[in-house]
Amino acid sequence: MATTGGHVQGFGQTNRTDRWWVGPAATAGGLGAWLLYYAWAAFQGKYWAAGPYISPFYITYTHPTSVTDTSPAYAFWGMWPEWWPALITPALILGFLPGTFRVTCYYYRKAYYRAFFGMPPGCAVGPRPVNYRGETGLLLFQNLHRYTLYLALLLLPILYYEAALSYSWGGELGIGLGSVILTINCFLITGYTLGCHAWRHLIGGRLNCFSCDGISEARHGAWRFTTWLNIRHMRFAWMSLYWFLFTDVFIRLMSMGYLPDINTWNGISWIADFH
């Protein structure tokens, strides 16, 4: 149906002649594939550790019956109790908490409103015909993004702790490919977290006067740094998301014996070399 200006109407309808659907389709594919992998990895509860490396999906030690029963000494939370249901893996909990941060993230909101909800699917492309209320009705919870940020900030030191422990095996300091991968994972997630719009607001954006006193000037410096990260928020969002997954894949394949690590402890070493 066309309006009086010759504009077509209806869901997904547009007068655009470019390939506007590539962006939302790629987003849907990228996010969908990640979520499928996460669901599979989280429920599986196996192959989450190899040698000194522990998957960021599982930044806590889990059941001792695990396939790769590495030393629990480096685990942040220690052993999980025997009575804990095996189906509720640490990955489910520790994926859900930072997951809320990503779900309410201002960048991801754009991504999934366009890719999954068609609100709208693209610029100047017809949205789903609903009684639109924006983020005032059911979506009012998006306003609590800063609380999910606090959760994400709490989890950051744990990621760094686990990455730091990957530089030690059998009481000997060293470095391995896995240590580097885990460290890059920490940096990317830090870059994503500190580029958050809510953080940018809290750190200095809420001020109207940056020059009023020393504290405001310091906050302006922090705000400028956050702004630099914020401009690259989308990039950090995707890189950290997929590096997180890649880290899990690396440790998984290593623990399954399909991939060796290269490190200062054993040279090129397979999972058996760590036992």
Binding site: T3, T4, G5, G6, H7, Q9, T14, N15, R16, T17, D18, Y106, R109, K110, Y113, R114, M119, P120, C123, A124, G126, P127, Y132, R133, G134, E135, T136, L139, L140, N143, L144, H145, R146, H197, A198, R200, H201, G205, R206, N208, C209, F210, S211, C212, H220, N230, I231
Partner: protein, 251 residues
């Protein structure tokens, strides 16, 4: 060397109309507005099109070119495939007056709803003082040329037609410009939520994508305003801090 391009133009008024095609000679470096002028000169002198500076600074020649909101004076013909027909239409969000000219007066009425800049009483020496660092942010918003492309592409106004509930991105950054100004004394947060409709925006960033002045409308204007609304109405911690310690109140 002169070549030819075909322009497909919407011709009509607010009640009816149709597309008509015109083929004209074009030269290297021409923009879509040049092609429209060629059509006016050689084929349709009654073709209505608003324009003024032809330099991307007056915001008059906004229209939809191949379905995308753009300034016709800043859109080169060479951006489109050689020989392909270029389609131009009026902005969808506003009522059509004739052909490519639309009535954008709704925007001016939104501007009137916003309390103007209200500085404090002049100091005794008669000079306001502020530092550049404090006005850097608001100067970005002052680049706005009021082309209303952001208003046109905003799906809340364009497709959902919620013009009563949301002033649109252009006026969200106008409010942000005033709210962030170090000398402004008006508390604009309640109106931002209740009258201007900050909660209606779902951050899909189309306004930022079409802005010819490259103003980061979403990240620097709308989201900071939404966060200030959160401070005031949704964050229990800042609500308590403000009530108990007076934290975050304007000087």
């Amino acid at each position: 060397m002169s070549r030819q391009r075909t322009l497909r133009v919407w011709r009509g008024d607010g009640s009816s109309g149709q597309f008509e095609e015109y083929t004209c000679d074009v030269d290297e470096g021409m923009v879509v507005l040049d092609l429209i002028h060629q059509v006016q000169k050689h084929h349709a002198p009654d073709l209505a099109c608003r324009w003024n500076c032809k330099a991307g600074k007056c915001g008059s020649c906004s229209m939809e070119i191949n379905g995308k909101p753009k300034l016709s004076c800043m859109t080169r013909l060479s951006d489109y495939e050689e020989g392909a027909v270029i389609q131009v239409q009026p902005l969808k969000t506003f009522p059509i007056i004739k052909d490519l000219a639309t009535d954008v007066s709704w925007n001016f009425r939104q501007n009137e709803r916003i309390t103007p800049f209200t500085p404090p009483q002049l100091p005794e020496d008669g000079d306001y003082r502020m530092q550049q660092v404090d006005v850097d942010r608001v100067q970005e918003f002052r680049k706005c040329i009021e082309c209303f492309l952001c208003q046109d592409t905003c799906h809340i106004l364009r497709d959902h037609e919620k013009k009563e509930g949301f002033v649109g991105p252009r006026f969200m950054i106008r409010v942000a410009q005033l709210e962030m100004h170090p000398l402004d004394t008006v508390d604009r947060i309640p109106a931002t939520r209740d009258e201007y409709g900050s909660g209606m925006c779902n951050i899909t960033r189309c306004c930022t994508e079409v802005c010819p002045e490259h103003i980061n409308i979403t990240d620097n204007g709308i989201i900071p305003m939404k966060e200030r609304v959160v401070d005031r109405f949704y964050d229990p911690v800042t609500i308590v801090l403000r009530r108990v310690f007076g934290w975050g109140k304007r000087a």
